[in-house]
Amino acid sequence: MIEIDGLEKSYGAHRVLLGVSLRVARGEVVCLIGPSGSGKSTVLRCINGLESYQGGEVRAFGERVDQRSAGIHLLRRRMGMVFQRFNLFPHRTALENVMEGPVHVQGVPAAQARAEALALLEKVGLADKGGHYPAQLSGGQQQRVAIARALALKPEAMLFDEPTAALDPELVGDVLGVMRTLADEGMTMVVVTHEMGFAREVADRVCFLHGGTIVEEGSAAQVLGAPRHARTQDFLRRVLHAPGGSAA
């Protein structure tokens, strides 16, 4: 469903991705882990063309992802994205945020979009928060609204860019719970995360990135439980032993 071949990207002289290849099949949950600066978020942002790239190729649903192509917006509508800092529209209520895509991007009638948006808010546990503005919601609630907003476009795949990294620890669980439900329902997901517990439990596959390449890739049990590469071992040791870390 998502095919990345030899992806290369640089900002000026700084090379961020040095040839990343990755396949994500329909219904698969793939977690990208690695230290900050390893390029994992950049890979994710290349999948829906938020970032351009210089070498290699990214294909989604069989089509080449090109930031400058005329049809990029059509490709993006088939993928939902959730950001680290939520990026809800602050001038619209939670319900309006969820309705925005269906009504204004897809042209769904408002009444139908409203009913579907309310159902989605209920699904993420925020049925009673539809009338609240983002500023009136906690970080965890905002992120769940953001997930509902992405789901409202009925995407075929979901991209998560460190969805819990900006949350207070006690709010992380609710967001991961919603993501777990999505995975159980068979949603195709690519998740950049530091939540090793989530990755171990939910991911079909885990990729460890370091210095712009995928150093190690395999099942969650293998990569997280018995890492072969010294870099992976070192990274996991740091993450799992970090004070207040997200070992879970």
Partner: protein, 220 residues
Amino acid sequence: MSQFLQNARDFLPILLQGAVVTVQVTVLAFLLSSALGLVLALGKLSSVRAISLAASTFINVVRGLPIIVQLFYIYFVLPDFGVQLTAFQAGVIGLGIAYSAYQAENFRAGIEAVDPGQREAALAMGMRPALLMRRVILPQAFRIALPPYGNTLVMMLKDSSLVSTITVAEMTRAGQLIASSTFQNMTVYTLVALLYLVMSLPLVACLRRLERRLGAGSRR
């Protein structure tokens, strides 16, 4: 004092007629400058180099010219090129163009102050540039730009007196005409000053309230 009140009673009807024209000039020129300013701001932010260059050149030229010179040019010079405008039309258009440059800078600053994450979220939803601008960026940019925008309206109310130089019979011009025929300079210009304050101070108060209302509940 009773003399002042007596004179005021005679002069006020004429000054109030002028005040109506002042309001008309201000409102129309403000609308024109807003529309033109928005076009210029979007032009300046365009990724097409020719468009952004044209917009910035226009803005710089307009900002570099005194408003009075622009008014004179439109009213006295354009007829030589076959463009005949009434003084009122020339005043509205001249003031509107002169202020569009400042409006453009206000709008551009507002647009650029919107969190880049907003644009990314809208793009990720599959919005195209025009929809993204209309639904996501401009509503937020307007809130950010509202204080300078309101300030511009107040400045424009005062600068509308400049169109008196091309014979538009707004309030300052009405005052000049009365003063030159009655020599009651103190009475006339005191009244004119008070009338400007009567218009501008409530306007400032209204804008404050609008800022507060739009700010509430929608901030991060």
